[in-house]
Amino acid sequence: MKDSKKTMELKFERIIPAPPGKVFDGWLSPKTPGTPWHEKQKLLLSPKVDGFFYWLINGTAHYGRFTQIERPRRIQHTWMSRYTSGEESTVTVTFKQKGADTLMTLVHSGLPKNELSKAHKAGWNYFLDKLAKTFSGESAKSVKEPKGWRDR
């Protein structure tokens, strides 16, 4: 079982001006700019359930296994790279018709909280709180520095 305290989820949405079938096919094609497979040093891609991908870019290898392929609604695959610290994360992409367009949602879940995200959270929360207080006229000194937010 994954410990939710140690992993995080990122969600992105875009409205794509094309019907879901076209957007779905576009996402699985390395020819389409903006897909993870478009710019590459090496790519092996087998987009079917239990098919694998290997994607090498800027010397960083990414691996995954397709777990769901339901044209034109849903694609799900696992995702591993050095940014997942060797953990298997999950990418789920869904396509929903919105008039003549498609609402595309990408959820990347099971991402380990890395040093950057920890530093980011601690640092930014502290810093933005402080700035917000400065602008609202409250004393900025009332915001306590969080633990783990150390000076480098």
Binding site: L10, I16, G34, M104, L106, L116, D151
Partner: protein, 111 residues
Amino acid sequence: MDQLTDVLAAISHPTRRAIIEQLSKGPARFLDVAKPFDTALNSVTKHLKLLERAGLIERRKQGREVLISLRGKPLREVAGWVHEYDRFWNENLDKFEKHFRDQKAKKEMKK
């Protein structure tokens, strides 16, 4: 180094955070920026250089004085990135969306 690294490095030092906080109240001259710190002017200059490299401050000539002011844009941009993949997917999806918009525009031109 990318901008995220530069900005995180820039705000990782208490003196630089204090400088940003001070500049958030409005532009200031170099000596005013340096005044609250019990440190050599040379050291303040180094901190300002790091802040400038991260795009967090800018210098502007006003008459004979140089005013230093805070730039909010990198702060807002970086504040949205919590993970490497935040930036990765946002940039990819923007390109993907643009590709379809360009295709649609081309089709409409032909009509």
